[in-house]
Amino acid sequence: MIAETGHYALVLALALALIQSLVPMIGAKLRDPALMNVARSTAVAQLLFVGASFVALVLVHVGSDFSVANVFENSHSQKPLLYKITGVWGNHEGSMLLWVAILALFGGLVAIFGSNLPLSLRAHVLAVQGWIATAFYLFILLTSNPFLRLAEVPVEGRDLNPILQDIGLAIHPPMLYLGYVGFSISFSFAVAALIEGRVDAAWARWVRPWTLMAWVFLTLGIAMGSYWAYYELGWGGWWFWDPVENASLMPWLAGTALLHSALVMEKRNALKIWTILLSILTFSLSLLGTFLVRSGVLTSVHAFATDPSRGVFILLILCLFIGGSLTLYAWRASSLKQGGLFAPISREGSLVLNNLFLTTACATVFVGTLYPLALEVLTGDKISVGAPFFNLTFGPLCVPLLLAMPFGPLLAWKRGDLLGAAQRLIAAGLLALFAVALLWAFVHGGSTLAPLAIGLAVFVIVGALVDLVERIALFRVPLGISWRRARGLPRAAWGTAFAHAGIGVALIGIVCESTWNSEYIATMKPNDSAMVGGYEFKLNGLSQRQGPNYREVFASFSVSQQGAVLGTLTPSKRSFATRGMSTSEAALMTRGVSQLYVSLGDLRADGAVAVRIYHKPWVLLIWYGPLLMAFGGLLSLSDRRLRVGAPKPAKAARALQAAE
């Protein structure tokens, strides 16, 4: 009953999406407000139905209703409740349902909060959302239906992939999808603008909060995915330049470029056509990510069931939307009015520089990801493009980008003063040099480039703060005035500073972790001890215990530093009988922003166990950085100015007029 209701709700959502893709377009063409408003009510109704469908799937998973094939294949009655819920999107069908649910959520949000948009623009945006939704509803219903039933109810389910039985599954995919799918709104705005043949500064302002929201979620999603891989996969790596990771990095780079170029468009009415193209490309890269992960082209934790018919279907959707939107772009872009010209040394000039570097970086990731796949298809040769390629291409591109970053916010619009900006950044530069000198003097080992990279990071962080200091005139005026200035500063300015500083913070973490991390891999017997990074690890012993749906062997290590016991770490190996798989659960101890990391390898016959022990200095900064960036994004999002144009109650407007 619940499953069938969910199934029918999904079918109704498809019917509504079809109406939403068609009727508002006609309405906008004929300027009929009622027809255009159909977009709004259908978008909201679609959200309700897809939401109901998703809730139904959650309910059958929680109730272990194995008459639903999807539940049988991915759940187990003994699984803890949290994983019964998160298991809903821990498989292909369910995650696609989450995908369309989030798509409907964004459509619904535009319908509900988009009353500051011109009617025809909103109708067009929602119609384009309707097209995307239709395509994905069809994909789900025809090739990946989570509501298919089994006539004979199996006694027990096949359980969820043990690697996914983790709190990370509750956070990483929803965040990532909010990011990926959020960019569909900027895509819809871009296509709507092309259809209407009209783009202006106001368009950029309307689309910016949506882009920013998507960017914030994508940032968090990628960071969370990286941290999850770090602690779950058991070898302490946090980024592997794996195609699946690159698939999420590409939309992030393009989306970051989009955020900045939309700023130029908003302020200066320039870069319009480029911004439209970036909007299209960003969402196209999100779709490409979906295709790579879901078609079976790649094998990884993310590639669930691989089925060629799904791959072909997604490829079709991909060609339709990317090809269609780019064709529309080629056809209509020339008819859009070009914006003004501007001086190279100016805020807008620096943003163009930012766009150049970000898109080039995105292109290198694109090549590094797709070239091996294309080569394999064409010649059958398997090559592996890994970290060395990206370190040699992506790395050098980041250096000038980061060097230039602090200058951007210090340059004025229209005509900037590079020398003035440089003078104001002297403090940041000196601090950076000081950091480099300190590191060279006192830290030994590791690459000679590492101190330089840290210096760069310090420059970025202090540079971001310099902007704030300058704006509130700290130290130049009494503190009270500075404080008032700080409070009066637009939140977007704070957001910029936090986001830029976040990059520097992450860079410090990356450099420290990869340069000064110490590891110890050996076989240890009970009562053996090892020294890693100045900490002593003593293996107390191994024992076993029964979890809800697994058995685990766990080791107990006492950690001490210079004789003082800091605590115990209990890494474990879990074996899941249903799938016959085992996972390694690393144990972590946080010391400041550094971490101690112990994971177990194979157990040996004589009671010894293979262990990996790592000391990872400052590793947490890698994820604090993105958190800071996302926080900056949220601050910027909360800026009053982005909401300007929101509907003011008619009464208030009249009252204002009366007062004048």
């Binding site: 009953m1 029918y8 509504l16 011109p118 009617l119 509501f147 004025a412 704006r471």
Partner: protein
């Protein structure tokens, strides 16, 4: 019945969502436009100029620029084609909503949905699974007991074969090791341990496993399991002749009714060019003779399965053979027999069904 009532309610809600905006007339239109944005930009420009984020002359120029945009937007707003209501078209859309939405939804749903299957959440299901569950909980109990008393060799003796059958090979290996440590060291247990290690390694005889088999043979040179696996080790090392010699020696001395005989025979046939190569060796037979030979092999397989039907792979091989020989009827009969022989074992039946898919035989 409730289900269809729920569907009907949902459909009505969906239709309502389409029709509702069409019926609203004379409502004042709330529409955003660019003017608000540009006015705000002017205010922002003044703020920026006040803190020196933009030079005075540039600010003046920008103000003119935004002002121009503001004027254009305001003008466009006035000149914009007035909204027109098209009653005919609205009616058409209303009809599309009223008829199209239910028609499409029902058509698609009836194709894909299974309204006849009732939901079966765990709470509503009779606990028929109880046959399987006590075993699991029993094992858990034994394991808990053994964790507290790891020196109870008899307990390990009970548990080890069960763990093997549950395919928890690593645990089984540990159990056998405990039997040897705390109980008696015997050739059988050493061989069992080796087997568990081999199974844990996915069928590869590791150095550890090999050492165990050697210890077993040191204790009892005639231990069948250890000898068989020593042969397998030789085969995995590529020493087929050695493997064949070991197995041949085993078969020579083996009693006629030894349970392991067929396994060793099959292995011997494999290394000494049985199976496919056996056919090649008879290349100079006439087609008729060859057919007769194949028929004979198939019949032998059929007879064996009649006696011992608990072999899914065997049944599938037989079915495949019948299909290749074009004897569809025999295949159907054999399939019925297979189902009978495997009835009562849901897991095997499932394996059989999975195998059937590739045969194109309608199960």
């Amino acid at each position: 019945m409730t289900l269809w009532f729920v569907f009907a309610t949902m459909t009505i809600a969906a239709v309502f969502a389409v029709v509702w905006p069409l019926g609203r007339r004379g409502q004042p239109l709330r529409e955003g436009n660019e003017v608000v944005v540009y006015k705000d930009q002017l205010a922002e420009l003044e703020r920026d100029a006040a803190v020196g984020l933009i030079g005075a002359s540039e600010a003046e120029a920008a103000k003119v620029e935004i002002g121009r945009r503001l004027l254009a937007a305001a003008e466009a707003g006035q000149n914009a084609a007035t909204m027109t209501g098209r009653t005919g078209l609205r009616r058409a859309v209303a009809i599309l909503g009223l008829l199209g939405v239910p028609a499409l939804s029902v058509a698609v749903y009836l194709q894909l949905g299974s309204p006849q299957i009732a939901g079966a959440p765990m709470s509503a299901r009779p606990q028929t699974a109880s046959a399987a569950e006590p075993i699991e909980s029993l094992i858990a109990k034994v394991e808990a007991h053994l964790e507290k008393n790891p020196t109870d060799a008899r307990g390990w003796n009970v548990l080890a074969p069960v763990l093997m059958r549950l395919r928890r090979y690593d645990d089984a290996a540990r159990a056998y090791r405990n039997i040897i440590t705390y109980g008696t060291d015997s050739a059988e247990r050493r061989a069992d341990l080796g087997e568990a290690l081999t199974a844990a390694a996915g069928g590869v005889i590791t150095a550890d496993a090999k050492a165990e088999f050697e210890r077993a043979l040191a204790l009892d040179a005639n231990d069948a399991k250890a000898r068989y696996f020593t042969g397998l080790a030789a085969e995995q090392d590529g020493r087929n002749a050695d493997a064949a010699a070991i197995w041949r020696a085993m078969l020579d001395k083996a009693p006629e009714d030894a349970v392991w005989r067929p396994t060793v025979q099959a292995a011997l046939a494999r290394v000494s060019g049985g199976g496919q190569p056996a056919l090649d060796a008879n290349k100079d037979l006439s087609p008729a003779e060859r057919n007769a030979m194949i028929q004979g092999m198939v019949e032998r397989l059929a007879t064996r399965l009649k006696q011992n039907g608990d072999d899914v792979e065997g049944w599938l091989r037989l079915l495949r053979a019948y299909m290749v020989l074009g004897e569809r009827d025999k295949a159907q009969t054999a399939l019925a027999e297979a189902r009978q022989a495997l009835a009562g074992n849901a897991e095997r039946l499932k394996q059989l069904d999975a195998g059937l898919k590739s045969l194109g035989l309608d199960g």
